[in-house]
């Protein structure tokens, strides 16, 4: 009986500790980024925006097992929602723009979820690809709203809380991004450990079994898609606010595929994996493309092959495995 109480209390404590470590890690990494690359905050802000996209992808792919190569539809919808709110409706408060992004992303999530969840496996991938092309084409067609292929410009967000300008040096945007990321991270930690999160993990392994428990996998997954859309929408809004332009590339297949690559690189099914994959991929890409623009694609390809061969569970997944194995050996 004693042992049971120990395990009972130990479990939640351990994961709360892990949460605190995670939050601390994000804060430390953000501060380090700020101190080490004070002149490169725009890149770092961009990494945060993409990290939000990858986190959102992890929710449906990592936690629910949905294969998608069209997740930028949610990100881009958020970006356009925030951009259109600012450029056409004069909603230039950054917080309201973020809200617009959340709404845009969530609605896109609902649409994508309803369609993508109709198939599984390869056909599901193809559905997601078709959707991203439709979204892209739609944004291209609606050029009076979106600026078409020239991009949506004329977004000029107000200073944050009336006093912090989104300026050239990008400090405001960066700090704003870090706070958004932290908020999202904390909320998602709650989400994935909640009963709902548990349900999603169950669906990933065996949707039939979940049905036999009286829960509907479809409705659950659509809910998750909407949440995922909101998260991606925050990323999109951050992108729109910090760069003040939204381009069709934010709704592209390429962006979707890159997000998936980053997620698998970091390791699916864990929030840290998603963050790690994004940071590693984007820094690697930035470094290699600056060092050797002509061959960077080859090197990125080699990196991906290397990861599949040496770290099949992704960077974080494999690292976590090694660490737990070490710990178990010690005890």
């Amino acid at each position: 009986m004693n042992r049971e109480t120990v395990t009972k209390t130990m479990r939640p404590n351990r994961s709360i500790t892990r949460d605190l470590i995670g939050i601390a890690a994000i804060i430390v990494a953000s501060a380090l980024g700020y101190l080490l690359f004070p002149d490169n905050l725009a890149l770092l802000t961009r990494i945060i925006a993409i990290a939000l996209l990858v986190l959102s992808l992890d929710l449906v792919t990592g936690y629910c097992g949905v294969a998608t190569l069209g997740h930028a539809a949610l990100f881009g919808s958020g970006a356009y929602a925030a951009g259109i709110a600012a450029a056409h409706y004069g909603i230039t408060d950054p917080l309201l723009m973020t809200l617009a992004g959340i709404l845009g992303g969530a609605i896109a999530g609902l649409i994508c979820g309803v369609i993508i969840l109709r198939a599984h496996g390869l056909p599901q991938l193809v559905l997601s690809i078709s959707l991203i092309y439709l979204f892209h084409e739609f944004a291209n067609k609606a050029s009076s709203w979106t600026g078409g292929s020239d991009g949506l410009s004329g977004i000029s967000p107000d200073p944050l809380f009336g006093s912090f300008e989104f300026d050239l040096w990008g400090q405001t945007a960066y700090v704003f991004g870090v706070f958004l990321l932290l908020a999202v991270f904390v909320l998602l930690r709650f989400l994935v450990r909640s009963p709902f999160g548990m349900l999603c993990r169950g669906i990933k392994e065996d949707p039939m079994r979940i049905m036999a428990m009286g829960a509907s996998p479809k409705i659950t997954l659509i809910k998750m898609y909407v949440i995922s859309g909101a998260v991606a929408g925050i990323g999109g809004a951050l992108n729109a606010i910090s760069t003040q332009v939204v381009g069709l590339d934010s709704l592209s297949f390429t962006q979707s595929a890159e997000a998936l690559v980053m997620l698998v690189l970091g390791g699916t099914g864990s929030l840290f994996g998603a963050l790690m994959g994004t940071v590693v991929f984007m820094l690697f890409e930035d470094y290699v493309s600056a060092a050797n623009p002509f061959h960077w694609l080859t090197m990125v390809g080699a990196l991906l092959i290397g990861v599949v061969l040496c770290a099949p569970k992704g960077l974080y997944g494999t690292a976590a495995d090694i660490i737990t194995r070490r710990l178990e050996k010690r005890t």
Partner: protein
């Protein structure tokens, strides 16, 4: 009426070109269960070899095609041995990561070796120019592509359904361990199938070069088209792939004639509709 006829012929020709390039992918994805995003890269290698053989070595078209097919297969052997073998049976996402990585590498190398410009494969005089069909003219090489497409479809169907190899292949696909227990050497079956798939990719890359010109980003540019066509058909099914190519070719061509502005919408809406109605593809088998 004449216009309808004319569009039908265009659709047929386009569908057959799509078929030739995609059918190899259907083999890898359906029979070997590998989401092979690098398929276009192999088609591109075929195109480059043929272009090099014809332009720089001065070989004839037939020789260039043969060289392209066998050259690509030879290049693919070490790739299959070292890389693909590691991802058979792995989750789809791992396969996506690996094959995208391979695609990136091949693009980078092609860019380095052949440069970024477009490459063409000169056609022999017999395939140049247009043929008069009475009510319209059509490029001879398109007719050639149609004939080749039909030949490939027939040949593959025969090989899979009627030969001893086909029996072993289908047995390995349905139940690898059972097939192995019965004495089928599944590794060899897989290696041969992979080589056939790659060879078909190269063949398609060369034959389709008039429509999809060879350049380093070929592998990424058309990756999605191939993937879509194969999935709509139902991976692994030759009649399915043929049907999907003709159907999508038809929808695409008609859409682009009637409302070119919304060409993309037609195509992808059709894909979504088909998959929603046939979640396993047109000829997909229940697993």
């Amino acid at each position: 009426m004449q216009t309808v006829f004319s569009i039908a012929i265009d659709a047929f020709a386009y569908g057959m070109v799509l078929f030739i390039i995609s059918i190899g992918l259907s083999v890898t994805m359906g029979l070997m269960r590998v989401v092979n995003l690098a398929h276009g890269a192999f088609a591109m290698i075929g195109g480059y070899i043929a272009s090099y053989a014809a332009q720089d070595l001065g070989l004839g078209y037939a020789a260039a095609v043969l060289l392209a097919v066998f050259g690509t297969v030879i290049i693919s052997i070490p790739i299959e041995r070292l890389l693909y073998r590691r991802i058979y049976g792995e989750p789809e996402l791992t396969q996506v990561l690996m094959t995208i990585g391979i695609t990136f590498c091949i693009i980078g190398i092609a860019n380095y070796v052949f440069g970024p410009t477009l490459k063409t494969i000169p056609l022999p005089p017999a395939l140049q120019g247009s043929a008069d069909l009475g009510f319209r003219s059509i490029a001879v090489h398109r007719l050639f592509a149609i004939v080749c497409g039909l030949a490939v479809a027939g040949g593959l169907w025969y090989a899979i359904e009627r030969t001893a190899f086909g029996v072993k292949l289908r047995a390995s696909v349905d139940n690898a361990s059972m097939a192995a227990a019965l004495g089928v050497r599944t590794e060899i079956i897989y290696a041969v199938s992979f080589a056939v798939a790659v060879g078909l990719a190269a063949f398609g890359g060369v034959l389709g070069a008039e429509l999809l010109p060879v350049e380093p980003y070929y592998a990424l540019r058309y990756m999605v088209t191939f993937l879509v066509v194969v999935s709509v058909g139902g991976a692994g099914s030759i009649p399915g792939a043929l049907l999907a190519c003709l159907l999508l070719g038809g929808i695409d061509t008609t859409g682009r004639y009637l409302m070119p502005e919304f060409g993309e919408f037609f195509f992808y809406l059709a894909v979504i509709a088909i998959i929603c109605i046939f979640p396993r593809g047109l000829a997909g088998r229940a697993r």
